[in-house]
Subunit: 340 residues, 2 copies
Amino acid sequence: MDIANTLGISPSAVSKALSNHPRISSETKLAVLEAVKMLDYQPNSMATGLRKGRSGLIGMLVPGIHYGFFATAIKGAEEILSQQGYSVLIAQSKENSAHEKKQIEGFVKAQVEGIIASMAMETKDPSFYKALSADIPLVLFDRTFEDDRVSTVIIDDFEGAVKAVDHLLEMGYKRIAHLAGFDHILPFQRRIEGYKSALQKHGLPFREEYLLQSALNKDEGANAMQQLLRLAEPPDAIFAASDYLAFGAMKEIKIAGLRIPEDIGVVGFSNEELSAQVSPSITTIDQFSESLGATAAELLMEQLKSGTTGKEFTAQKRIVSPRLLVRQSSVRKGEVPSPL
Amino acid sequence: MDIANTLGISPSAVSKALSNHPRISSETKLAVLEAVKMLDYQPNSMATGLRKGRSGLIGMLVPGIHYGFFATAIKGAEEILSQQGYSVLIAQSKENSAHEKKQIEGFVKAQVEGIIASMAMETKDPSFYKALSADIPLVLFDRTFEDDRVSTVIIDDFEGAVKAVDHLLEMGYKRIAHLAGFDHILPFQRRIEGYKSALQKHGLPFREEYLLQSALNKDEGANAMQQLLRLAEPPDAIFAASDYLAFGAMKEIKIAGLRIPEDIGVVGFSNEELSAQVSPSITTIDQFSESLGATAAELLMEQLKSGTTGKEFTAQKRIVSPRLLVRQSSVRKGEVPSPL
DNA sequence: TTGAAAGCGCTAACAG
DNA sequence: CTGTTAGCGCTTTCAA
């Protein structure tokens, strides 16, 4: 230890001085602190880590960093984690199971103390994560699976769908169609359930022809909308499982010469940046992606502190309520949409 | 070492087996590899790192992960880095100099082998980075400063601006205004220079009243456009330093009852997701943010391999050419915009 | 070809 | 209150 040599004292004295150990004279402590400044000393975290059995690293795995949703979630998590003195390792699965596994192994090799992850779309078999969570504190967010041994943070997609449909009904729309995602992904399944449940609650029938599943992009939204407009009795409102679907549908509605929101109301999902910018702006469900990430980080911190990983561990489930953002695409007559 | 005990051989034998050392019998090697599988052994990277003086960690600092541009750059860098066997630490400066410094110190403490960074908007004094680059291989990207001791990766903003203006002139527009960013930020300064240079090249005068600096958002774009439309001789085309500015300007143009691209042509900058989606779609300059990140990572890898950090080191400068994406907002008459 | 020994920088236990 | 010692898990001489 450099400092020890410079001052002619023992390394352990230095160590104590730096860790504010009680058994040290304030004299030596001061001398050490000064030397630290002089030499611009940085403790070697690998040595400390090796000795203490702690790396100070948390791994965060997402399908892709460039997805707005995940980028924001990372932002939220990073803030909490770095605040708690952890460094954050980032990796992407690229929606690919094999790659996902490899990246997680990288985390393990780097000796991360905990992992926050969102599953790849491709990953149907979650047993890998189950096994992992027995070894390392793990929190899954957004893309999760059902298992009471794994901690998860998700938004309440059911509630989000209900809020969307309720809102459309309040605005006076009667025939609400749902442009859905594929129901083998849990969140989309829940949105479909919420949609049906809200209809039922209001005594409205569920019509098979008003539910269309597809990938979440603009073109699929346009296709689906075309189909709907061809129906004998087309819907007068659209609840889409994604803002991109909603946006594509809106294009098609305009092409058909119909007006939004006068003739057809539209509500999206996710609060993509896009939805506030286009005209008319799109009413949507905000998923609070940043606080979703932050919540996942907090949950992980709790698990780390309680030191429970193995057998005795009780998984935590956190469900964040989504929020309805009313914009122009769903408000007719003199109603005033809330700002932003 | 677990494996050594299990097999009743020495740790050094195991080490050699795992690192493919020549001085080892293939017999023992096989035995070791088998045991590795059996015990699901993971070498402790902190121990290895401590011994070898390498952490396998690269730090990447950006103003904010949620900015589309930086998220994509991270994606690009992460791919290269993880492919090379490095793990990537992420941190955000939040545009704040003090925070930026703290995060970098975190990297140093974590013993990163190299750093990729983009400066906080607030950071006017780059001496901190100069000092840092003497200690640790450093590559700055996008938000950089001029110094021949620091490696940088940027796009050629001047060229991007020239391409934009050239294109507008080719499309037959005559009076081109520039909605600029603030010129104390290098990229925006360069775009202004490129704008002026392109005008000059074509023998057109530079008009003071056609250059408006502002923050890069929709509202500022709208404001600026209002001002321009009030001129005795308003411009017939807009080159905006950001797609958001362009988008705001387009709103205002429509409000004024003018048509895009027939009456006024518009070109933006950055290829934000938005610009492909809105109607009319916005012609823009693509910054290749993903390959910008990847290039920064590659440059860093080169520096690490050449082992040059201290005195003898020659900084590298990489300049990526941007690309013009022609869309609807700038193409009148029968011209065909390229797809996407 | 293998093993013994030393040590990377740090901390925790114990002895002084 | 301070120093000595041992060892975290690994790699690298060097000697066997």
